[in-house]
């Protein structure tokens, strides 16, 4: 009898603290499986950010540093510059990366830090109870945009990958989704490519993952995945924004 699927050794046995059906769990799995498959669990340092995934340091079966809100890429820089042969990745939400931490993330990319950023875009501040994120959709009701986000008052959802595509130091950049099994498999491929590039020292890699927050969206987990497909994806099209591929990493 063969094992077709079992929990990866890249995750510890600690039960995940996420709400039922939250996509964080799926993305955790994909990252952890990737690290296991690439055989680098023992060489990896995870940088946990502040958000629902703050406890990811408990979940990823690797050494981990918990970073201040928004500063994961700065912390990763501190680790990676001293340990250039290790694998270093950050795991950050849209509040963490796109709002408070955008400066640190942009400059890590611009300095060509050879790290991988897993960017969980769930259009909301999950951890703090559902406030508007810079990525929240127009019309989306959140606890700080109670009648829906309005372009004229709050601005439009920020397009992180589009902006980062303009940064020379970026080696690989793709936006993926986990809204259905096919997309989950795609996401896994993208994550694997990012880490592979890091191992090849190609530069900064980032995967933006469209993810769900069923609790703060006020939906069942299943409906939440549908919402990703129907509402988020049109605003945040899935796309490879940059792939330095085998070319010289200029």
């Amino acid at each position: 009898m063969d094992i077709k699927y079992k929990k990866t050794n890249g995750l510890t046995d600690t039960p995940l603290s996420y709400c039922p059906g939250c996509s964080h769990g799926i993305v955790h799995k994909l990252v952890a499986e990737t690290l296991e498959e690439l055989g680098v669990l023992g060489e990896t340092i995870a940088i946990a950010s502040v958000g629902c995934s703050v406890f990811s340091y408990k979940f990823f079966n690797v050494d981990a540093v918990q970073a201040a809100h928004g500063r994961a890429c700065a912390v990763a820089t501190g680790v990676k510059r001293n340990l250039p042969d290790r694998i270093v990745f950050t795991y950050q939400g849209d509040g963490d990366l796109a709002s408070i931490g955008i400066a640190e993330t942009i400059h890590a990319a611009n300095r060509k830090e050879n790290i991988t950023v897993i960017f969980i875009n769930n259009c909301i501040y999950g951890m703090t109870g559902g406030q508007m994120a810079p990525t929240s959709l127009i019309g989306q009701k959140t606890t700080t945009s109670q009648t829906g986000r309005k372009s004229d008052v709050h601005g439009n959802p920020i397009h992180i990958s589009e902006m980062f595509s303009q940064i020379e130091g970026v080696a690989y950049l793709e936006r993926v989704s986990v809204c259905n099994p096919r997309q989950v498999r795609n996401a896994k491929k993208a994550i694997k490519k990012a880490f592979t590039y890091q191992m090849e020292k190609k530069g900064f890699t980032m995967i933006e993952v469209l993810s769900s927050c069923p609790v703060n969206w006020g939906m069942t987990p299943v409906d939440a995945l549908k919402w990703i497909e129907e509402k988020m994806t049109p605003v945040f099209p899935l796309k490879v924004f940059k792939d330095l591929g085998d070319e010289k990493n200029v």
């Binding site: 039960p15 603290s17 996420y18 709400c19 629902c52 703050v54 951890m127």
Partner: protein, 184 residues
Amino acid sequence: MCKAINIRVAGFGGQGVMMTGQLMAYCATYENMFSLWVPSYGPETRGGTANCSVIVSTKTIASPVFMNADVLIAFNLPSLTKYMNMVVDTGVILYNSSMIKDPVIKQGIKAFGIPVNDIAIGLGTIQVSNMVMLGAYMEFSGLFSDQTVEKVLEKFLGEKKAHLLGINKQAIQAGREAMIAVKE
């Protein structure tokens, strides 16, 4: 009532723990008593449990925290186990006997099992099991008139959920009855 009553309410997230506590505090305010409600909050509540404390008093309330509960309302077993020891000897425990079977209660403390889930399901929706519990406690304590709780509920539910007032009131009455039944 001559002194403050310290109440702890606890259970799974989704069992209406916070609402139960808040309604008590609202009722007390409505009846011109002093009241105070303290929730557990934040990620602590993620992944399963919720609890809050309520203080009801005829005088201003000094300390908002207490180690000694006069009342524990436990909606599930982990909550009962976790908080049982804070109940004073003269205190009382109300527990959800739909989910907690034959609990071992600290010696000498009054405890009443109310099958609030079953009663609520009997009324048509498990959602009101917390109201059943509230009714049971009202019956036990003699606190808050039916009128008070109705007014408070009306405001709490607001226009959008006004249609739920009836079923909530029914649940409270059912709770009262259940308490009368177990008390005997």
